[in-house]
Symmetry: C2
Subunit: 426 residues, 2 copies
Amino acid sequence: VSGTVEVAQLLFMLVVVLLLAKSASVVFNKFGVPGLIGEIFIGILIANLVIGDWSLLEALGLGGGNNPTENQYILDVLGELGIIFLLFSVGLETRVRELISVGRAAFMVAILGVVIPFGMAYAFMMFQDGNSTHAMFLGAALVATSVGITARVIKDMKLTDTKEAKIIIGAAVIDDVMGMVILAIVVGMATSGSADIMHALTITISAVVFVFATMLFCLKGVPKINEYMKNRLRSQKAQSCDADVQGQAWKAAMMIITCLAFAVISQWIGLAAIIGAFLAGMIFADNIEEWDMKERIDILNIFFVSFFFVNVGLKVDLSSITGEILLLAAVVIIIAFASKYIGCFLGAKFGDKSLDKSSANIIGIGMVPRGEVGIIVASIGLAEYAITGELYTIVVMMSVITTIVAPIFLCRACRKKYCGCQEQNT
Amino acid sequence: VSGTVEVAQLLFMLVVVLLLAKSASVVFNKFGVPGLIGEIFIGILIANLVIGDWSLLEALGLGGGNNPTENQYILDVLGELGIIFLLFSVGLETRVRELISVGRAAFMVAILGVVIPFGMAYAFMMFQDGNSTHAMFLGAALVATSVGITARVIKDMKLTDTKEAKIIIGAAVIDDVMGMVILAIVVGMATSGSADIMHALTITISAVVFVFATMLFCLKGVPKINEYMKNRLRSQKAQSCDADVQGQAWKAAMMIITCLAFAVISQWIGLAAIIGAFLAGMIFADNIEEWDMKERIDILNIFFVSFFFVNVGLKVDLSSITGEILLLAAVVIIIAFASKYIGCFLGAKFGDKSLDKSSANIIGIGMVPRGEVGIIVASIGLAEYAITGELYTIVVMMSVITTIVAPIFLCRACRKKYCGCQEQNT
């Protein structure tokens, strides 16, 4: 009856990837390196391990083989679902009141974390080749923050409850809104020669309305719904012997649907799917303890999220890197790291005087990973013929390296401040 | 960095399908119809709802649209993962000792549930068009049992612990082994004119070894591993502040990997993936209470399994059904229902004298749904030019109708025997 696909090869790929990723995660962890780096490492290994005629990528049906695109597509989708459920999970641990309480600091971190990287990248590129379109795209790529990577480190180390975590998450949401507006302006200027102010304004307004409406709903709507639900469940329990179990399955389904729906809305508006997933998580933050759903939702991460980090590594083609590109990339990576760190460090210090140096340090490092967002910016630039293939490769390298290196420093900084706690094993 | 795909449309499809499926499940349940029928109904609705130029299938990107195959492929894969996790979950609730204790009854149910349907289908087809190849394929299709559908009803009604459930599951495993052997023989006779006895023997032996080796491992290996693990975790706990949480995530990952690995091995041998998943579940059955993993693994079902049942409905193309086909299909459906029911009812009565009529009734109905297995048999027949397109359509209709109708009777029979308990809501 079902459209049962020929899944033997697909399941084989999934189980090998999961086994390698989880094992690497455990091994890296033993040596004090965040588990996700182990998963990215497995991705790089799969993409580049060739012994004679045999390539691991082909053996897993992820490239060169019979249906490489289908297996790769599944991996992309599972990874995307993974990062969505991860941010949903982070949202579940973030109460909206706490987020508002760090609002000023988050705003300052986001502003300086946008202005300084954009300015430095623009200045460097104008000095390097004098093409203002290239300079703007590099600027837009360096503005991006991929909060998924930081979220994973924070979650693995069980630090979601800290003030630093709240500021990073809050700043990432604001950063994403600003990043999308800048990208819209840059694309407009590259394609039509002038900034499409109306378009940029539309994105800004709809994004701000979406974020604030959700937060308002958390504050005002959720308590009322809870009241209603409790009364309803109480009357149900009298009727049926397992209304409680029914309620649990129903709640879980409702949470997953809300998470995916918010991810979709977020993408429609022009924001990242993970921002919507995070906001959806916040809706349930007040209930999650009582519902006893925390550990259950975490299983979705445990299954899905490794695929995301393996995928990060899979995009690294070591053979395409030349000496010339390497040199330029090194400079761009240093700028990417330094500009975001300085901007966000200063933002944290200005935004909240009570934060000490070690906290501002954590926030600065936490905002460094560009992840997939940097790549998306570069892909758009390449598709619009606004940047060269060389610059594209450099941006990809910048995104990958910041994603790999930042968690190592972040982990160390967190361990220094909150010593005694180790990150999770998988 | 990640291979972030253009997921907006995909996520939209997933969230609409989930929302419709879960809602229909709740509504159908209110009227005493099993929730999975509601989910299949949504599938039929999506496949066939056309208003003027607008079709729901196209709107969801599942057909006719820009990339119909990719969205459909994702749905197939998520559904397949869903049914795998569902059977894993059923395995988690099945201790191997209990399964062995119903071994004789399960074996009798499987034997008579194979011989009678095959004989009746063969006789009917020889009488109908006299083609022995057609007759053999219809026989093989009617032999199939898709335990997934029954497993869902049993699980929703919280009856996994009953003797009837154990017999059905045990018989389904044996039935699957015999069904695959028959299919191998039938395909061999249709393509080369003679039965490939060596091939059939290879499948039989490897399948039996796989099933018995796993059961032996459950009985002998698992207790030893448990002993070792407990000692190891105890020493770890002394070292780190959250070794317990580490252990939980590690256990969950290990369970998921084992489940998928067994599904792959099962497919390699020639059995259904779900048989492997069920056996993998049994490995953890003794630990699942203590590990507190039951509800967590269930989340994987809650997310994935609706896609499977929606998919069942999606394959129903109402417009392809003509009066002539309908008549022949009606006869085949009656044979499919009656032969399996009679065979398994008698098997249960002969196999275990202590079973009363109502228990044999439940077992008989529980074995009726042919699900995807019947369709797979027909697809192979069609691909080998051994059966006609008309007969293929009839087998698909038989599989769909037995899948839709049997749960309704099963639910009623279970409620009659175990009254007071209602099925789950989602």
